[in-house]
Subunit: 192 residues, 4 copies
Amino acid sequence: MGSTAQPRRGDTRQRIQDVALELFAEQGYEKTSLREIAEHLDVTKAALYYHFKTKEDIVVSLFHDLARPIDDLIVWGETQPRTLEVKKELLRRYSDALGAAAPLFRFMQENQATMRDLSVGETFKGRMLRLMELLNKPDGSMSDRVRCFTAIFTMHAGMLALTDVEGDPEEKREAILGVAIDLLVQAHGVTQ
Amino acid sequence: MGSTAQPRRGDTRQRIQDVALELFAEQGYEKTSLREIAEHLDVTKAALYYHFKTKEDIVVSLFHDLARPIDDLIVWGETQPRTLEVKKELLRRYSDALGAAAPLFRFMQENQATMRDLSVGETFKGRMLRLMELLNKPDGSMSDRVRCFTAIFTMHAGMLALTDVEGDPEEKREAILGVAIDLLVQAHGVTQ
Amino acid sequence: MGSTAQPRRGDTRQRIQDVALELFAEQGYEKTSLREIAEHLDVTKAALYYHFKTKEDIVVSLFHDLARPIDDLIVWGETQPRTLEVKKELLRRYSDALGAAAPLFRFMQENQATMRDLSVGETFKGRMLRLMELLNKPDGSMSDRVRCFTAIFTMHAGMLALTDVEGDPEEKREAILGVAIDLLVQAHGVTQ
Amino acid sequence: MGSTAQPRRGDTRQRIQDVALELFAEQGYEKTSLREIAEHLDVTKAALYYHFKTKEDIVVSLFHDLARPIDDLIVWGETQPRTLEVKKELLRRYSDALGAAAPLFRFMQENQATMRDLSVGETFKGRMLRLMELLNKPDGSMSDRVRCFTAIFTMHAGMLALTDVEGDPEEKREAILGVAIDLLVQAHGVTQ
DNA sequence: CATGAATGAGCCTTCATTCAT
DNA sequence: CATGAATGAAGGCTCATTCAT
């Protein structure tokens, strides 16, 4: 029923975002031209400009739509007491958020140089710093502080490596979360 | 000793590499044009082509000249027994190597998408995998394997974060190395 | 009298003309996009196409509606004897007409290159030539003929300069008209 | 000898200016694309960019190279006493300058809207005002002031009309200059 | 060693216009 | 009356690269 590539109306904006994110992550932001995106969608370049004001605007919209959970997470974190239990919960939730926003994160990871002058990049970096601040143990030793931020970077690196290393994805994610929590505990722990 | 005293006439090639690496790391490979590099050096674009066949060739040369220590490290590692002590030494040496090749690493970190089709990128990725293999505990639990590769990523992330976080650089580097070794030990250790 | 009282519903067409003329005069025809006009009116581009078949059509309609008095003036002139008195009256009436159609004239003045291939432009240029012919003293010396057409150009230039030069607008207009008539008289006069 | 469209080297910049000025004047600045200019010269668009940084830059260079005499004229005028004789000489020299820079002036005349945001446009307008100031009779009546600036505009309009009106060009130019001087004299005159 | 001049491909963006709803 | 969605053409500009000198 209507299977000859109907011009599915109404969801174009969404489809642009999907394709763009995929290509940006796969080939890099600069190397992905709007022509390429348009061809993947079988529309003209001009059509993209009906939905987004600029190329950068596509990225902005992606953050707008996909980075929300992480924002929420940080906001939540900032209302909580700075106990170890809360921090562990933060990591757990962050792991979930990362899973959901995986493609966006891959995009960021692979386009760090680009992110820097993408405006939304700086915004996001700020958020990351706040998140780290939440996990940090301000009066801890340098080693402890390193452990805290490593807890987060472990998870980021995990995202990347998930693809390259053998093993069941879900199992890997849990292992990664486990290690991250472990680092956090060590940073805060007295016993052990 | 270390005084091979290259003929001083014509250090242009070297200068091109320096400027290129700096700009590539700072602004990204794609966003840095040969014109820009040439202007920084006060020569013409055509001059660059006297020294390097293509833009990519500049990157290749950078790896050639700067990634050597890491290559050597891996070669060394592969001739050693897979003991914990050797692995610890690997991390130590890797930390040194990272310090020396910091700009190159920053460049890679920030241009991951680009790296993928830069030929030399794949080459390098292969080396990383071999390095990880060297550190790995093949029969270990998933968590232990995660700890092993996290040991390395911690150091990479450290590079990045060194700038953003307060504290004495050298002290930070040692703390990072310490945490990395710790992770390695935990992955292998029973009594820890 | 003059109260044909157009149905008030739907003055959009009029508003389009107003905004278009203003923007065309201010920024130039080519540099004013339909998008811009539409935005000023808070309607969509497509709406413009309901009222006007093309961008050029807007200009045509502007001439249709605003250049009429000048047309009438020329028609009137061509039925009159070629006396000096009539010519003076022509200038007077032209001065009035210019005042009324000022924005249109500014638009023409500032978009002369564009006018040339705007069809309506040629039409209008023809009218100007007829007007000049009416003022001309065919058997006069070259100087006299120059004076005749200068009489007109003085008034055009006046429009332009009115804004840049200090002084009461109405007073300036009268002075300009005075000089123009003077030129005309000199061209025709012996005893002057 | 060498008649098969040799790639005449060295004069490209000049040729670009020539063609550009001609096309800009003939069709308007906005409607003349760089592609068109390049095609007229049988080079690529990119070649234009080797010689000029932007499209606007071509215009700037044209003013730089062609408007110089007028600049000099004004500078000269500002060192002279404000006598009627000097003012007449100013007009005479201005007439010559206009003749030499005719295409440039035609370009300006036909692209006034464009001139406004072409940076060099404002610069030039400033010069015009200084020139008018030189000719002006500050304490004169409004009519006299109008005569002064009309003297100049007459000459500008003359340029334009030279093409449309029959008659020997040189004769026309002299007639125009005559009328302009006449206006000036009348503005300053005692008798009459 | 290095430059001056040029190219071809491609990029992001804008525009006037169309048409089904 | 008017909009939402899209198109095709074109525009200005930049880039990596080449080559004769």
